[in-house]
Amino acid sequence: MNHLSLIIKREYLTKVKNKSFIVMTILSPLIVVALFSVVAYLAQLNSNKERTISVLDETGMLVEAFENTKTTTYQIIENSSLDTALELVKANKNYGLLHIPKADNPSDISKGVKFYSEESPSLTVISALENKIEKLLTDKQLIAQGVDIEKIKSSSISVEINQESFTGQKSSKIDNLLKLAFGGAAGYLLFMFIIIYGNMIMRSVIEEKTSRIIEVIISSVKPIQLMMGKIIGTSLAGITQFVIWVVLGGIILTIVSAIFGVNITQMQSDQMAMAQDAMQSPQAENMAQNVLIAIQNLPIANLVVAFLFFFIGGYLLYSSLYAAIGAAVDNETDTQQFMMPVLMPLILAVYVGVFTVIEDPHGTVSTVFSFVPFTSPVVMLMRIPFGVPIWQQLLSLLLLIGTFIFTVWFAAKIYRVGILMYGKKPSYKELFKWLKY
């Protein structure tokens, strides 16, 4: 066992001290934050652009709809023909001209509305205009039909169904969204972790093979010790990197938003403001409160414990396969043919997670995939926030551990033979033969 800790220590230190690892660790959050900042900044620039839109309202009924906002100024043109109005708009270099021709009733008016502009106008501008006109015309129509608008407004009711499970657990839509977010984040994290650090393990095995040190090492330690040491050491390095990313990312984000005043979290609301003009949500105030309640409703303890077990189990399962691939080939270009069958179930797991768990977390498909060992870590992690019976979790975990032991045995066999095989790229048939050596 002393050997194992020595190997883990070496693997960890060489990974952590590696220049490209350090550069990646520091640079990645910088790049991501920089990217987001640029996008946010650009989006802000774009939406801050002031526009002047001319309106030629021949009906004279809709003028009241066009109130100036921070970014848009409406210029009402009266008593002019369309042609002169267009000339005027061109001369003033306005953004565009909204033409509302005269018609007998609101529904006819709506059909004749046209927007003239030099370039094709932005989607948000058009939908904002449509919204305004629609609302006003609807009101006019209602009035024309003799309906009291005030009554309609006061009798509009918004419904939000409260949910409660048979065991008495209350939940809401926000609840479900949050569960999805938690589960999705956990599953996706595992997916990323496997791909990034599995590859790292594979490369490190190949490096030992190509530098030919492998024979010296395995005359001192058992191949399985070397393999496990590699997997554990690399994972620890990975966790270190992840933690640094999170911390560093947080710090940089704070600094950047302080300096440039770019509020990244508000970025969306700016963008959506126009489209959301009409959508007033009465529940907005309750939102924050609901989120808090929802978080409290999550099976936190279960989530944390299950996350740890499924994360470790799933990661070890895949990384032992990565190690075996590394042992079977001589260089990275040869890994492709073996990567596919490893990546397939992983990608499948993410797709199943995204498409079926959202639809029905306890449906047949999600349930089955949360038991199949190669997909279970990702799918189960996505399901757990929705409440999975403990016996299911345990059974799935048991299957996962069983498969893990099998893949480690399998990988160790391949590894033991593969690390001493040089030259030609092995076929699957040969790999199978190695199991018997």
């Binding site: 190997i7 030992e208 040190i213 010296v216 090492i217 005359s219 001493l420 033969k433």
Partner: protein, 308 residues
Amino acid sequence: MNELLVAENVSKNFGKFTALNNVSLSVPKGSIFGLLGPNGAGKTTFIRIINQITMPDSGAVFLDGAPLNPIHIKDIGYLPEERGLYKSMKVGEQVMYLAQLKGLSKAEAKERLKYWFDRFDISEWWNKKIEELSKGQAQKIQFVVTVLHQPKLLIFDEPFSGFDPINANLIKDEILRLRDEGATVIFSTHRMESVEELCDHIALIHQSNKILDGKLIDIKKQFKTNTYEVGLQTTDSDALIKKLEMHFEVLPATFKNLNDDVKLNIKIKEQTSPNELLSYLTQQAEVHHFVEVVPSANDIFIQTVKNH
């Protein structure tokens, strides 16, 4: 007990390919044992079995009387033919790591490494990376790593490849010194001159089978041809050769000496003593050169392999 390593009927197959077929060997304590054979004969497989890297399909290997087991790892030092070290790791860290893997404590490892690094005068490499060293320099480091834990059994697979003559000599002297200090050495090489120089015993493996095994001197006796290399001075060389051919098997020979002699290899019958040949020759001509032809390891190797 005089044998350090005993292999009994060791066989190993890789699928349909037989790498070793019923090979039995015993390596005497304190000897330098030459493990010879053409490429692909099974030497490396045999060495890997000793190192417990590969398990034999059948047969057993004993070290110091006990069946091979993981405890023996610290008793064996192995320098593989395919050498390598972690390229981007510093020399010092690397040798400390490898020494600890062989079971040395940190303090022990440090002390012994200091001794060896001073001895080879390579202390200034401690903080360099392997990739900054030349191939020969890296091999020196690897030699140190192999012998550092003072194993009972040292296995060198082509230890001199990649060394210049000065360093090859240095390594050769170290191997001899380690032998004198009590280590047993298994030495696998294709360089027959170093076999002559170093080995007490040899074994020849060919196509998975052991075909020759024993003390080098005994094997040489076994292969001797009763041939003598002679240099004679005479006025009429053709007449002399004709005369000799009537009594012996005579072949032309090439060797270097000072005079323009008639150079011959003369083979005598087993019961004839070399004295009889010599006295006969002295009657016919002036003898300047008279040497028994000793079969070289090279000759033995080629002859044995060809005959199989």
